[in-house]
Assembly symmetry: C2
Homo-oligomer: 308 residues x 2
């Protein structure tokens, strides 16, 4: 039995990709079970309710040598804690290739697309399998989530085509209205503790000799997030110390305005933000303008800065 | 323009995969040129003559940031010397994933198949492109070469199907007779210097803290190779010292007998061979029996030994 899972602090793409790829592997004769590496966020919970699906179980500690499939990630820092001891047989991802290695020749499928879901649709077609309505709903939701309904610069024509193909199978008549519902669910942050808001979509990256933490909150209601600015910066500061980070950023992305105002904790971040983006922070907020993609815009700029 | 190339000390799969993948990328709208990282061996030269093709040019030193496609390899030690400065956009391979990373999301295609050629046939089908007769000849030859005409334990059903599909397009009526011609060309080692025989199909691997060099000579005429044993062991000893290796092995694989007798240089190799394979060397020859695949049998056994 192959265990299939997406990254830590899972987003909608990570959870749905695990569910759909486990199903696809099983239908292709390789029994597989989906797991998650953390709590689904509010958007993902909405998507699962709409699809009539339960969230996958939390990944248990797998015995060394267990066969696994990684979806929507490939780096050890974003994966199961004992990844080095596991037998990576399959990877389906749309991120840059990090520190992954495999003990044996494996099945690896990476494409520079807006989301894992678009690649999973392609795998269905190659296998000659139709996409079942529940899977279509999950995949459509992941396309809309990862591309911010085609607003992100990571969006490709293949992502647009995938959404157009999946919507009727999923029974979604008005894709824009459905995306707005998803984003509203994601923005309904209520009394979520600041620590959880920070970690909702959070990844660590290695830049030169430093480890950085980069969080993103995508919301239709940035005013709510900035109303909790002091709490969030305190949570960032605590995480920075606890994990020995060189820096920590929390980007608040206004989905509809397509803008990014990023919280920083100290002069260290302010200096890096100035060098990497040419932006002077005001107090603890740096206006990164239309740089809304961590993968395609924020991380590459930081990598370029630290490799100078 | 994307530069496409296979591994150092190229075999038939490495050279033909570069030619066919460059052609496929170009036909798909991405201009690409094939290169090689060393002299084609005698078998490859025969295959190119049969296909009416020239060998690709030797890879020049590419400027930093040049876009490249790797075929039939992914590790830096087997690639262009300045790989770390190049922009890896595509990888098509059937080896385990080593130390490769990419600066941006890339197109990566790895499957546990007997050769790269079988995967390239799949890519033609997915792209809805027919395989042209010259490409079919190159791909068929690579399948036969990498799988030793389906004798290697790396052979999969997909490799057998690929060969059966390609043979009529390539105009090869008798696949077995053609494979015998290829193997005879490979075995026609004439007055090739011992240093060149050692390096013809040679890769370095890291086992724990040690670097090892593993050469293979696949031949229908092992008697010829053992007739030059003293020269070959002198060349191995010189390479071991020059490259600061922990050990060096040269496996002489009898293609038709499907057996492997491996040359060693010293007690260091004898001890490792005993521990990893349970085989006592006689003089400077270790009989590894039917372990004829470096990728699937020799390397994993050495890795297991050194990780104990
Ligand atoms: Mn994703
Ligand atoms: Mn190969």
């Amino acid at each position: 039995m192959i265990s299939v899972f997406g990254h830590l602090n899972p987003d909608t793409d990570a959870i749905t990709a695990a569910l759909v790829y486990a199903h696809l592997l099983s239908r292709s004769g390789t029994p597989a079970t989906a797991y998650r590496l953390g709590e689904p966020n509010q958007e993902t919970a909405f998507v699962l309710r709409q699809a009539g699906m339960q969230a996958p179980e939390l990944l248990p500690t797998l015995p060394a040598g267990s066969p696994v499939a990684l979806v929507d990630h490939n780096e050890a820092a974003q994966s199961a804690p004992n990844l080095a001891d596991l037998d990576v047989r399959y990877v389906v991802d749309h991120h840059k290739l990090g520190d992954l290695t495999t003990a044996q020749p494996a099945y690896l499928r990476f494409e520079p697309l807006g989301c894992t879901a678009t690649l999973l649709l392609k795998l269905h077609r190659e296998a000659g399998l139709s996409v079942e309505p529940t899977d279509a709903r999950l995949l459509l939701s992941a396309v809309l989530s990862d591309t911010l309904e085609f607003r992100s610069p990571t969006t490709t024509d293949a992502d647009r085509e995938a959404a157009a193909f999946l919507a009727p199978i999923a029974g979604v008549d008005d894709v824009t209205a459905y995306a707005m519902q998803m984003f509203a669910a994601k923005s309904d942050l209520g009394d979520t503790p600041a620590e959880r808001l920070l970690k909702m979509d959070y990844k660590e990256f290695t830049f030169g000799a430093q480890q950085w933490g980069l969080g993103v909150i995508e919301t239709t209601n940035p005013g709510y997030v900035f109303g909790r600015q002091a709490e969030l910066i305190a949570a960032m500061q605590a995480e920075k110390v606890a994990s020995g980070l060189g820096g920590i950023l929390l980007s608040v992305v206004d989905i509809l305005g397509e803008t990014n105002r990023t919280l920083i904790v100290s002069g260290a971040e302010a200096e890096v933000v100035k060098g990497a983006f040419g932006v002077e922070a005001e107090g603890q907020v740096a206006d990164l303008g239309q740089l809304i993609s961590r993968k395609k815009q924020i991380v590459p700029a930081l990598e370029a800065y630290f490799s100078k």
